[in-house]
């Protein structure tokens, strides 16, 4: 198939970006979206032009590196996929496709379609863990976790940290991302000791990084490649409110 691409090009973090038009020709429909870009890039390299830069690694939907906004929607309009799992059979010959980076104040552009998502790492570093020293763990089956709890926390833990939720949100909020981790750890017996401290620290870091608040549009859930439910945001709000109240009482 033959396509027209409208691609965001930006030579560096400080540079001004613009949309550039490319023809993508003879694209097999079995190719993935990133393989389509590979083909376009080989063409650019052969004429000595700089290839389109984008983040990618595992190309099987689990590492969370790929991060394209396709026709205005992070990871495209297909539900439950990352960009790397999107195949060209979902497009038609002659289509024009707009490709932009994940846009958010907290995700500055590095080059072309690559953005800096280290703010998400810092939210985890603030409290997204169980503080257990290697070697000090009790026997594994001494901590029973019911199957239903295990399945529910798994649904939240499946987050790949891609940041599509942030890019889809009009406020560039990271509540779905943060809520997923808080839900995962605060609902397990292992996570109880640090429950309040975790949610307070993660939410405060989230604010410090420049992520916005949630205004209940749920675009995040719609684009999440792992289908994480906005219920984790309600749970985040509840845990946060309780922790703030307890913090107030302790003062």
């Amino acid at each position: 198939m033959n396509l027209t691409l409208k691609v965001w090009r930006q030579s560096g973090p400080q540079a001004t970006g613009h949309i550039e038009t490319y023809a993508a020709e003879d694209i097999p429909e079995e190719a993935s979206f990133l393989e389509m870009l590979d083909i376009v890039n080989v063409g650019l390299i052969e004429i000595g032009a700089e290839p389109i830069h984008f983040d990618h690694d595992c190309r099987e939907g689990i590492c969370g590196a790929c991060s394209l906004t396709i026709d205005g929607i992070p990871h495209s309009k297909e539900t439950g996929v990352t960009t790397c799992q999107l195949h060209m059979r979902k497009f038609s010959d002659g289509d024009t496709i707009w490709i932009e980076p994940f846009r958010a104040r907290a995700f500055p552009v590095i080059k072309d379609l690559m953005v800096d998502r280290s703010a998400l790492d810092r939210v985890i570093a603030a409290g997204g863990f169980v503080d257990v020293r290697t070697g000090s763990a009790p026997e594994a089956n001494a901590i029973p976790v019911g199957k239903e709890t295990a399945d529910a926390v798994f649904d939240a833990a499946t987050c790949i940290g891609c940041g599509a939720c942030v890019a889809a949100c009009r406020n560039a909020s990271a509540m779905l991302f943060t809520g997923a981790k808080v839900y995962h750890l605060n609902n397990l017996p292992q996570g109880q000791e640090e429950k309040d401290q975790r949610v307070l620290a993660m939410v405060r870091q989230m604010d410090a990084e420049g992520f916005g608040d949630c205004s209940n549009h749920f675009e995040c859930e719609a684009v999440c490649p792992k289908g994480i439910s906005v219920d984790v945001i309600s749970k985040l709000n509840r845990d946060y409110a309780v922790a703030v109240a307890r913090e107030g009482l302790a003062d």
Binding site: E46, G48, D57, C58, V145, G146, V153
Partner: protein, 663 residues
């Protein structure tokens, strides 16, 4: 070619005492560093996957100053994340007869008696603690209704010892490890350097004391010094271009260490995973693994006749048109007791044999069916969806076919590399100070790795082994004795800059990928699933040509002083081109078949007793224990010079090597 069997060059430093007591004795006698002094020592960890991430976090908890480097934008994206199936541990929660000894035995036998007994035993022993640690971190393993941990049987094991988190076990273990790492980063014990790639190792007075890195955003070249260096940089499967590895996986760190004198052990042991989605075209950038857990319920088959297979390839017949008695369920036929669960190397080779026989079913002729229709009839679609739903969905996304209705097509693909830098029992290479963990070292899996053992090894090395062994080295070192102002660092930085300049000034006509594809094709055909003397010699003859063409005609647009993904790829491919030679040398000199290394000249025939008495099949891998019961450790001797082979004899005190039969 010279070769040596020399205990003095390759001292594995295996502790004295009975096998089952070696590790506890070692720990009781290892040199320690007192808590007040630990903070004076700095350690570099390259890689942030299961091995590197767990090592960095744990060493920081102990009080060392850690610097951790990864080329990805976040340590959470290391390729360990893609592991699907599970992690083995000898917990025996199923009460089905498992034990440390049995896990050790299965791993040793699975590796076709080409791994080091003491290391493999330690791995099985440490497996118990790993599960405890991961559960305490909140890793959401599958559970029973009563709240206990669930297990499944995996990869040919006759006990259920695999812990799993749906089809995303690697992801959940890595996130546990990443969170521990982030915790230490927030406490200041680890300084993390994402988007930073190690380009060379720095040796000071014969010891590994630092690295030279490139900041992938700014292109800046800089040095980092430390009292010890740990490489946890994964495997080299991408030497084949197409593999199940992530696009960025590379051999650079290990190859640069090899060129600085570290021995590369058993590079020819490369595992080809039997259940991947077949290649569909030239544009393809990577291959997708389908978890081998699918073989628990799926049946592998091809048509009995070539004519039927040809009609399927042309689209004139569908799988469902082939009657039961015209199908060849070849694994069940050849290995009645293991059936579709036969080990990876055996399953992969059988698929290749069927396709080489003209009975492949994908358009390209390279594919076999994995059929769930019996299991769906027996268990119902819902049960199958519960077990494999996410995998079926992934398959449908990629292939456009619904595996609930038509059988999947699968074909083997390069997946894991058992070879790696040579290490002793301390996980230290022959270069003092250079430690190597996880897939990057060679020691635990022999010639073939069993399913659900990679995650186990990565975490064993990082959480439990290196924290106990590195003090043995550090205790002999004065902390902070090197710094990046030393001439050794200046010199390596200079070499790195010159190599980048050379790459940037070629300005030829071809993309990096085009050379990588050429290399991959040559390695797949000549050093892949089955190998011959002639094929390997041909590869060794052709490799210099690809390398010369690369250095004459590669084109890297853009500049080196900023983000440049073609430059990153070019550096990695240049290293793969050099690495491929030592891999072929290793495959050529190992004149036997063992595990994943299959030399066509060395297979059982009707002449062999073990075939005549029905113990194994003709065509199975034939080891030569009298000649090749050793680790092949290769020493670099300079460009254009053949590497030198050193042999570490493998001694089996507990389990005498036997012919591996899965019949």
């Amino acid at each position: 070619m010279d070769s040596n069997t020399s205990a003095s060059i390759l001292d594995a430093a295996i502790p004295e005492g009975p096998l089952a007591e070696k590790w506890s004795r070692y720990k009781s006698h290892a040199k320690l560093i007192n808590p007040a002094n630990k903070r004076k020592y700095s350690i570099i960890v390259v890689g942030s996957g299961l091995a590197g991430g767990s090592a960095a976090a744990t060493l920081s908890e102990l009080g060392y100053q850690v610097k951790c480097f990864c080329f990805q934008d976040s340590p959470r994206r290391a390729h360990s994340i893609a592991a699907q199936g599970g992690i083995n541990s000898a917990k025996n929660y199923q009460n089905d007869g498992d034990s440390v000894w049995r896990l050790f035995y299965d791993t040793l036998k699975g590796g076709d008696f080409r791994s080091r007994e003491a290391n493999t035993y330690r791995l099985a022993e440490v497996s118990l603690q790993i599960i405890d640690q991961c559960v305490a971190q909140g890793v959401p393993f599958a559970r029973e209704y009563g709240g206990g941990l669930a297990n499944r049987s995996f990869g040919g094991a006759q006990v259920s010892r695999t812990f799993y988190a749906r089809g995303q076990t690697g992801q959940q273990l890595l996130l546990g490890c990443y969170q521990a790492l982030e915790k230490e980063i927030s406490k200041g014990g680890v300084k993390m350097y994402p988007r930073t790639e190690m380009l060379d190792l720095v040796m000071v007075n014969g010891h590994a004391k630092g690295i030279v890195v490139r900041n992938l955003i700014t292109g800046e070249i800089s040095s980092h010094a430390a009292d010890a260096v740990i490489l946890a940089t994964g495997g080299y499967g991408n030497v084949f271009f197409l593999s199940t590895n992530a696009m960025g996986c590379n051999v650079t760190a290990a190859l640069r260490a090899y060129k600085k004198g570290a021995f590369f052990a058993n590079p020819c042991y490369t595992q080809i995973h039997p259940t991947c989605i077949p290649v569909s075209g030239d544009y393809q950038s990577k291959l997708t693994l389908m978890s081998e857990s699918l073989r628990n319920d799926g049946r592998v088959w091809v048509p009995k006749s070539r004519e039927d297979a040809a009609k399927i390839r042309r689209g004139e017949l569908k799988a469902t048109d082939i009657p039961e008695d015209s199908r060849d369920y070849y694994l069940e036929r050849k290995y009645p007791s293991f059936g579709n669960l036969a080990p990876r190397d055996i399953s992969s080779r059988s698929a290749k044999e069927a396709c080489d026989d003209g009975r492949g079913v994908a358009k390209t002729g390279l594919g076999v069916f994995l059929d769930f229709s019996d299991a769906i009839r027996r268990l119902g679609k819902d049960k199958i969806a519960e077990r494999y739903g996410n995998l079926f969905q992934m398959y449908e996304k990629i292939s456009g076919e619904n595996p609930y209705e038509v059988p999947m097509k699968i074909y083997p693909a390069v997946h894991y590399t058992m070879g790696g830098l040579w290490v002793d029992y301390n996980l230290m290479s022959n270069l003092p100070g250079l430690h190597v963990l996880g897939e990057a070292n060679f020691s635990d899996h022999g010639a073939n790795r069993l399913g659900a053992s990679a995650l186990m090894q990565g975490l064993a090395d990082g959480y439990f082994v290196i924290p106990a062994t590195i003090s043995n080295y550090l205790a002999s070192q004065k902390p902070g004795s090197v710094n990046t102002a030393m001439s050794e660092f200046r010199q390596v930085e200079q070499e790195v800059k010159e190599r980048i300049d050379t790459l940037m000034t070629v300005q030829g006509k071809r993309s990096v990928d085009s050379f990588h594809r050429d290399l991959g094709m040559l390695m797949w055909h000549n050093c892949g699933m089955s190998r011959t003397d002639a094929g390997l010699r041909e590869a060794l003859q052709k490799l210099p040509g690809i390398r010369e063409a690369f250095w004459k005609d590669v084109r890297i647009p853009g500049r080196a002083d900023g983000m440049n993904m073609e430059l990153e790829k070019a550096w990695r491919v240049a290293d793969f081109l050099d690495f491929a030679e030592v891999m072929c040398h290793d495959a050529l000199t190992r004149e036997e078949s063992c595990g994943a290394h299959f030399r066509e000249e060395h297979q059982f025939t009707e002449e062999d007793d073990v075939v005549r008495n029905g113990y194994t099949n003709p065509g199975e891998a034939k080891r030569h224990d009298d000649l090749f019961c050793h680790v092949s450790a290769w020493e670099y001797k300079g460009p254009g010079v053949d590497p030198v082979l050193h042999k570490e004899p493998l001694v089996f005190d507990e389990v005498p090597p036997s012919v591996r039969s899965y019949k």
